[in-house]
Amino acid sequence: MDLRLTLQTTVNRALSSTRLQTDALGKLQEQASSGKRINLPEDDPLGSAAVINARAQDTRLDSDLSNIQTARTTLDVGVSTLQSANQIFIKARELAIEGSSSANDQTALNALATEVDALYKQLVEVANTQHNGQYLFAGARTNTVPFATNAAGTVTYQGGDARAELPVSTSQTVSSFYVGSEVFQARQRGTSVYTGSTGAAPGSGTDSTTGQGTLVIAHTATTFGVSQTTSKNSGVAAGTGSAAGDTVLGPAGANVLSLVDTSGTGAGGTVSLNGGPAVAFTSADANLKVTGPGGEIVYLNTQNIAAGFDSGVDGKVPLTATGTAAASGGAAVALNFTGNQTVTDANGGVTNVDTSNVRRAGTTSVSYTGTYDAFQALAALRDDLRNPRGLSGTDQAKTISARLGDLDRARNNILEVVGEQSATLQNLDGLESHAQDVQLSTKKLITDKESADVADIVVKLQSQQNQFRLTLATSAKLFDQSLLDFIK
């Protein structure tokens, strides 16, 4: 079709093409000045959505990295704190060895005890270390002082039972605040160790008391049976001091008296306990002390001895000596001389005692093996150095040496936690570099999607400019032409 080209068409064309060119120039200018390819969603709808997701990913990695940093600082402080705890135990070990070698010099030992006491206080400080106002070893209960010393001087844990977990990636958390009782109060209970000569031994049950305790075995009453061979009544009875002074204990027949009436009338003779040294008696004795070979003591009344009684003929006289056992201030329990008797202390802790071989009253010190926490281990060492029980030099050296095991166990446990924290730190390094890698590629993605390619824009801008000039020049030329130029 042969189109007539009119003035308005020419004008419209010139106008619209200049408008298009300026529009394109404007877009390029916006891209060049903002440095962004996408300024509005319409510039690249799908790209915008991708940028939104990528940017969300990017900021999330920011917070991951910040949390990794926080976790690392917390764990770094944790590791260095535990290392100072480790130093405390190394020092304590040296002091213990020194103490065991100079056991006879109590003044020197007291000085060592003072040093250990300082270490003990230092350890409590260390265990209560704060980082940014949060207790490092209080588990999730970071606002609570984890280790409090009560009136009795023992340290109890009052922090949380769960570790505080900190998110370091979408799916991973790391423990940053550890449970103090796991670090300083872990235990591996072994068979309890009894000292003393009462004959009490660990029972078959499992104890629940920790650290160190005492078991008081007391005598209640002694009664005498008929002779073992002829069932003759010897006439011997408990002395007036028997209830208070007897230390002999045992079921019927566990202890025996050998009694010989040398006078034949019951007026006098000899008596011995469990084959111990023979003691002479007369019918006037109301409170005769007889000591057995193990040091067990019985008080006798020999005023009514059967005439002519002779253990060589009639057999020995069996004793029944009842008693009680009580643990660390707890209620006394009547001894039943069985393989496992449960004694409860004042705090409700149970001690299972094999009482079948208890033959003497006395105080037994019970060491609950493997239950000394870090604080108890130091406190026990301090007390052993001070020697309040008045042990002999060799015995004291032995007990002090025995503390080494507890010190080492507490230290090893702390080192285990250090190991765990170090492993976490290492893991964090990996996580961090992974997060940084991902962030780098995310940032690259954002830049690729969003940022303008400057070189590209400059070239486009140049070509657009040329186009624009061409349009203007063409319009100018067109308007230049008119028939009027040619007719006169």
């Binding site: 189109l3 799908l46 917070s63 209080a138 970071t142 998110p167 629940s208």
Partner: protein, 654 residues
Amino acid sequence: MSALSIGLSAVLTSQRQIDITGQNIANASTPGYHRQTATLAARNFDNPLGAGVGITDVTRGRSELLETALVRNNSETQSVTTQLDALRQVEVFLAPGDGSIDGLVSKFFNGIQQLASAPGDVAQRRVVLGTASALADKLNAATDEIRKVGEDLDAQAGNILTNINTYTKQIADLNGQIEKATVLHQTPNDLLDQRDQLVSKLSELVDVRTVNVEFGKINVIAAGTPLVVGTQQLPLQYQVSATNQANFVRADNSTLALNVTGGQAAGVLQVRNGDLQSLRNSLDALSKGLVKGVDALHATGLGLTGPLTSAAGTRGVSDPTAKLATTNLAFPPQAGDLYVSVTNTATGARTLTKVGIDPATQSLNDVATALSAVPNLTASVDPATNTLKVIAANGYAFDFAGRLPSAPENVAVTGTSAPKIAGTYTGTTNDAYTFKVVGGGTVGQTPGLTLEVRDGANNLLGSFNVGQGYEPGSALPAVKGVVARLRAGTANAGDSFQTRVVANSDTAGILPALGLNTFFAGDSASTLAVRPDLLTHPELLSASRTGDSGDASNLLRLGTLRDQRSLNNGTQTFGEFYGSVVSNIGVRVQTLSSEQDAKTALGQNLSAQQQAVSGVDPNEELVKLLQYQRSFQLASRYVSVVNDTLNSLLQLVH
């Protein structure tokens, strides 16, 4: 003697043609002007030789087909342009960037994640709350912006309406004038041009079709309804329905919404009723998803200060006596249970009570009654706002964290060993665990004494030695976080005790529904806000499920929301959802923009064609002018020759 009159007719015709050319040149740039051409015809007044020349008609260079196409294109272009203008305003507001909605959503979750590294840090709590406030403000502002754009569109629609009614009135008037002229056999080209121009203008406002009727009149049909019938105008009205749908209706029949398909009117309606509505719905969906997810978890967590002594709901119902299912709650509850823990603040003893919730049978008042039945708890309905208020008795505090009760339940123990329960349940379902002694004896002594743990379905979860080798009172291995202890003493075969374990303490969703202990107040993009007392007391922010300062368990749960596909029927995360909203509007603008380009190009093409038919080419007119000048000169010379001839004749007479 017709020679003179023939000459005269030629002179007059040439003069008239020169006039017409002058008119064409003068109007070369007049919009809507149609090039006029005289139609010449030889005159023949019963004279077989002819009687000169005459102008029978002055016609406009006009193509009906092109004019119609242009009008339609005009409508379509204007519709697209109007939509573009409105959507670009919204687009700028929603564009992703640092302070945009998506940026704030991810900043909010980042804040939560960073708070998890120091849950007790009040400053960091303030950061989270501040970001949440900024997000709420941004969503409020976005809906406000959408509302404003809507209002602007309403105003624009008002102008469009005024113009439509003005134009149609003018067209009706012109129809009358044209009719009069046509009846008198005149060709009122200027009036026709004016009317064409008005139709063209009308087409920018609404989709227009014209029908030629008698006496040069046209009927104008727009949006499927006649606007001009002959000389009569039928005005339109603009109205907004109760459901916020705007429509054009006829002034005389306001019930029928017109189906506007073109022009600015169509653009306004499309954006106002379509795009803005769907954007508002999207922002509401985003807000609701966020609020529902965050609130449900926040309500069942614990702040730094532990259990609460009182809590006031922030979401009320329309009628406290109506069944909850029939009320207007934004987050409707479902049939399920609410577990309430009540703690004795002096002893720390904690009970766990299950409260059954059924929205089909319970009203808000019934829920208050059910909660009041929990020992040491009183719930009431605030009559002013119809919200629920829960208060603990003096010396007690409550929470909805569903922690284990402090003492074992249903204890059926004949031995002397006392059981204890502790820990934090890590399972995912609500259940009740039963602990049962197998074989009798003494705890810590009797070989083979065992404690079995079974779940509600009687599955064996664990079997632990509590006889010889077990330290009485020490923690048994945890069963999904639940730790049992047996004190020293005897345990008889069959001795048992239970504990309920709660993973979801609000299966009914009643807490977010009523806004109890929630993070947000409000329930839509326009009303969203952070619960005011949280802002003043950041320690109330539920970071944990135990109340411990270093416990971030609830924050970890909140953090998982970020990746949860909770929107768009469970297919999109918050980020993806917002991305799709933005990309949708981007696609819309982009499509409209290229549509506008195409329509404009088409319009230019059509306009060039129309100009080819109707436009004035000055050069052409100049050539014609020369031609008419020559005709005039020839005719003048002819008259002069005829005159000379007559002169000669007259001289003969003298």
